[in-house]
């Protein structure tokens, strides 16, 4: 049993090492900095600039968090500070459903609802034409996917704030919102930070749903109504043809390595913080 546990630990290292081995050829040819800052992507001419994909990932993630953070904060505060049982009985199962739906379903929903909404209703107010398959669409779909994770983390954090502390604030004459804002949220600030980092790492790796609505054009998006091409989508779309060129395969594995390293770091940071909070 000890062996099984230790093997599982080693697995993290093996994964990183394996991906690194595979991406070593391209790292040997093009310096890391150039890979990340060059924006020309022409695999068959041996030009691998990851900037469009990195920027696409960053943009989509930022949009997702900007939408889901306030939504989940208010929802969690409402659930822990305000609501009675009957509201919880509706909202928790609803969040459960959100959490259990596979990402391809979000993709289908995105193409059926969000994409037409953006191209018909929203985009005409801002730009001349948009197909709807945009950075914004990907961000919106992603924000809903991380929503249940954020809400459940927040609810756990907020309900671990002691009742005495709330009573103290109320007894001084605070309103509910003042208590929620100045005491409950302030007390859970490190936890909120860690949760957001965790949600970011979840958003970074999301593949199919994003792939289905983001437009998949290797360009640095200039506005939220431009198509984008995040890293996971790049890997998923090109796995078939990557074996044709050794450098191409290496480039895609570098993309996977990049995701792995960033997600690993984000996860480590947030989990360690959350663990510390849980222990106190």
């Amino acid at each position: 049993m000890r062996t099984v546990t230790v093997v599982a630990l080693l697995f993290v290292l093996v994964m990183g090492w394996g991906l690194y081995q595979k991406s070593a050829p391209i790292l040997g040819e093009i310096p890391l900095w150039n890979l990340l800052t060059d924006s020309t992507w022409q695999p068959f001419k041996n030009q691998f600039g990851f900037l469009p994909f990195v920027m696409g990932t960053i943009w989509v993630t930022i949009i997702a968090i900007v939408i889901s953070l306030p939504l989940s904060l208010f929802t969690a505060i409402f659930l822990t500070e305000y609501s009675r049982r009957c509201v919880k009985k509706i909202v928790y199962p609803a969040l459960d459903i959100l959490a259990s739906l596979p990402s391809v379903i979000y993709g289908v929903w995105g193409t059926l609802v969000i994409v037409p909404w953006i191209s018909d209703k929203l985009a005409p107010h801002f730009v001349d034409f948009s197909a709807g398959y945009t950075t914004l669409a990907a961000g919106i779909v992603l924000s809903i996917m991380v929503l249940p994770l954020l809400v459940s983390l927040f609810v756990e954090l907020f309900s671990s704030v002691s009742v005495d502390l709330r009573d103290t604030a109320y007894a001084l004459g605070s309103t509910r919102w003042q208590t929620a804002q100045k005491v409950v949220m302030r007390k859970s600030l490190p936890g909120i930070f860690a949760s957001v980092v965790l949600a970011v790492s979840r958003a970074l790796g999301e593949t199919i749903a994003v792939l289905m609505v983001c437009g998949n054009l290797p360009q640095v998006p200039q506005s939220v109504f431009d198509a984008c091409y995040p890293l996971p989508a790049l890997i998923a779309n090109n796995y078939g043809e990557m074996l044709s060129l050794p450098m191409y395969e290496s480039a895609l594995m570098f993309a996977a390595l990049l995701l792995f390293v960033v997600v690993l770091l984000f996860n480590l940071v947030s989990r360690i913080i959350l663990r510390k909070i849980e222990e106190n």
């Binding site: 009675r84 049982r85 002691s162 009742v163 005495d164 502390l165 709330r166 009573d167 103290t168 604030a169 109320y170 007894a171 001084l172 004459g173 605070s174 309103t175 003042q178 100045k182 005491v183 302030r186 007390k187 600030l189």
Partner: protein, 280 residues
């Protein structure tokens, strides 16, 4: 008002006269807390049954009784902190002076809770600095100005005898204080919004004997200026400091009266049994 100025002045050890805050209103005559046929049940099971008592002003009133008899619930009902218990139902009335606590709007409740301070069982420093803790109540009630806040903080820290211990680290987190210091900080914090009543829920039970003695002495000193209601589980403490005693058993008020009379000459059989240690 004159009375109020006088008692402020008495409380102040320093030479500078303390001016009560114009943001807070004070009645001409100290109010009594009147509990009038008050019932409280949680999920249908009665916790308090037809409680009718009058809690006198400027005295230390001790609520005594075996554990689980509803002492703490009664105390929490006095400033409606019982609201936050899931499934709670009340009937009857509780009045502070001539304002009803049970039937008042949320905005009046905020003011009422300011007039009734709370010292919890375990010290609950808010997630702020020492200064921030005491200034918090004033800030939410609109008392502003750095200099004024500083004066208030200094004054109340002196009242609870904490000033000399913490004056050099006012801006360090309050959680770094010792438990005994934290409890005195909590007392100072509730005094800072100039309440008329102070509710204390076994306020010394989490403290070491020395700090416990300090807090007890503080209560005795403060009763000239405030009305104090204490829940206590130690009969000896009640004997030492109580002026007025309420004995509760199984959610019902069994005996009420002057401490001397109740302790020396209990009328009710249950009270006699409790005082002799037969029920606890």
């Amino acid at each position: 008002m004159k009375r109020f100025l006088l008692r402020r002045f008495l409380a102040n050890d320093s030479n500078e006269p303390f001016v009560p805050n114009e943001k807070f209103q004070h009645p001409e005559v100290a109010s009594e807390l009147v509990v009038d046929h008050f019932n409280l049940s949680i999920d249908g099971s009665p916790i308090l049954k037809d409680v009718s008592v009058t809690i006198p002003a400027n005295k230390i009133t001790c609520i005594i009784g075996p554990s689980g008899c509803g002492k703490s619930t009664l105390l929490k009902s006095l400033n409606r902190l019982s609201d936050s218990i899931e499934g709670v139902k009340t009937s009857g009335d509780i009045r502070l002076g001539d304002t009803s606590i049970v039937n008042c709007s949320d905005s009046d409740l905020v003011e009422l809770r300011r007039r009734i301070g709370l010292v919890p069982q375990r010290p609950t420093p808010l997630p702020m600095s020492i200064f921030g803790n005491i200034a918090y109540g004033c800030k939410i009630h609109g008392v502003g100005g750095r200099r004024q806040l500083r004066r208030i903080v200094r004054h109340y820290l002196k009242v609870v005898g904490l000033w000399d211990e913490v004056k050099d680290r006012l801006h360090s987190p309050a959680v770094k204080l010792s438990i005994g210091q934290q409890q005195r900080l909590c007392l100072a914090r509730s005094l800072a919004v100039e309440p008329e009543f102070i509710l204390a829920d076994e306020a010394t039970s989490a403290l070491d004997p020395v700090s416990s003695k300090i807090v007890e002495d503080l209560f005795v000193k403060l009763k000239e200026q405030y009305s104090i209601v204490m829940v206590t589980h130690t009969l000896r403490q009640a004997l030492r400091i109580a002026d007025y005693v309420i004995f509760i058993y199984m959610g019902e008020v069994i005996e009420v009266g002057d401490a001397q009379q109740v302790f020396k000459n209990p009328q009710h059989e249950l009270t006699q049994k409790y005082l002799s240690g037969a029920i606890s």
